[in-house]
Assembly symmetry: C5
Homo-oligomer: 99 residues x 5
Amino acid sequence: MFIGKIVGSLVSTQKVDAMKGQKILVIEPFRLTEERTGLKTTGRTLVAVDTVGAGENEYVLVVQGSSARGTPETKTLPVDATIIGIVDSIVVGKQKVNF
Amino acid sequence: MFIGKIVGSLVSTQKVDAMKGQKILVIEPFRLTEERTGLKTTGRTLVAVDTVGAGENEYVLVVQGSSARGTPETKTLPVDATIIGIVDSIVVGKQKVNF
Amino acid sequence: MFIGKIVGSLVSTQKVDAMKGQKILVIEPFRLTEERTGLKTTGRTLVAVDTVGAGENEYVLVVQGSSARGTPETKTLPVDATIIGIVDSIVVGKQKVNF
Amino acid sequence: MFIGKIVGSLVSTQKVDAMKGQKILVIEPFRLTEERTGLKTTGRTLVAVDTVGAGENEYVLVVQGSSARGTPETKTLPVDATIIGIVDSIVVGKQKVNF
Amino acid sequence: MFIGKIVGSLVSTQKVDAMKGQKILVIEPFRLTEERTGLKTTGRTLVAVDTVGAGENEYVLVVQGSSARGTPETKTLPVDATIIGIVDSIVVGKQKVNF
C-alpha cells in the first residue's frame, strides 16, 4: 500500500457500466521526507476509487493490484487502486510526522 | 488506474487468436503538472485495448493488471491494460484542470 | 502491454520442467520519441516467451503479469511476460511511426 | 520480495472493516550499496501489514502483489504488501552485510 | 521475467511458517549494456526463492508476480519472485553476450 493525498476528482460520462456511480479520485502518492519528519509528493498521479468517504486534501491509504478488488464495495469493479483508509497520523520514532 | 492520452494505434496481423478484431491503442500516461492546473505527459508509452469507443487525442482512464480483464469485453483476453472510461474533466480545488 | 524489440535469446539448460522447450527471448521495451515519429529504446531488458513465432529484431506486443498466462500456449507456464503479437505498424496522427 | 526497514507506523480510524485491528507499518525499501557491503535506503515509502511481530527499525522481508494475501493472517485482507520475515543477516561472498 | 545475478543470501529465523526451509536469495536485476555485448547491474536489489539449485554469482532467470507461485515448489508459498532457470548464455545478433 502507499500513502496518497487526494488532490482532485475525475468525471467520466462514457465508461464501463460497472463504474457508473463510482466516485473516481485523483491521488498523488507521497513519501516521507529524508529526515522522516514530514511527507512530500512523489510527483506521480494515480486514479483510485474510494470505499471510506475520503475527501479532497485528505491523506489516504491506497491498495493496488488485485487486492484493490478485495473490499465488499470493489469486488466486481475493474479497478487496480482503492482507498481503504484515511490516514489520521504517522508516527516515526515516537514523533508524529507533519502533514 | 491512470490518466492517459490516446496518441495512436497499433496494427498487428500476426497475433494470438483472442486478440483478433481488437482495437489496439497506443497510450501515453499523463500526470498533473506541479501546479496541478494542467496535465503533462510522463514520456512513457503503453498499449491498451478499448472498451468505450475512445479515439485518438482523447484522455482516458486506464486500468492495469488482472483488473484489465475485469470488463465483459476483455474477460477472456490476454491483456494487462484496458481503457475503461473517457475523461470529461478533472477538478482540483474546484478548478477544472486544463487539457 | 508494451512495444518491445526482440534483441536476442536466452539459453537455460537447468530450468523448471514446465519451461523445457520454450523459446526464451530477450526484449527491450521501446517508447515513442518525443515527437512521436519514431521509437526509441527505454534501455531496460526483459525476458519473455513467444506465442507467435517472432524473431530477432522484430517489434512485438508484450503482455505482462497474470495475463501473460492468458494464451493457450502459456496457461500452465510460470511466466510473467508473453509476446502476443508482431507489430506491423504504429500510426500516430495518420502518419506511420518509423522503426 | 524486497528488504525493507520499518521506519514507523500508521494510524487510520476510518478504514475498511477487514483492516480493523491490523498493525499498519511504514516501510522503506532498502538495497545493497554499490560495494555490496551494506544497505541503503531507496528513498521510497511503502505501507505493509505485519505477520511476524516485527518492530520499528527492524529490517524485514516484504512480499508484494497477490502473494501478500498468501499467509493465514492476510488471506482475507485487501493488502498488497505483507511482512513475512525479520532479516537476521545478509551474506554476500561469505561476508555479512552491515546494517 | 528478468535476468538477475545471485549476489548473496538472506537469513530469517522469525518468518511465516510456509517459508521455513526455503533458501532465500538476494538478487540484482541486470540488463544489457548499450552496445548489447555485455550485462550490467541495474543497481536494484530483490529477494527471490530458488527452484533450480542456483548458487552465488550465477545469472538466473527470475519470474515475478503471481506466476512466482507457478512452480510445483512454490505454489503454496507467499512469494512474488522465483528463480526458474540458470542462464547458460545470451545471444544477441549471433554473438554471445559477455558475463
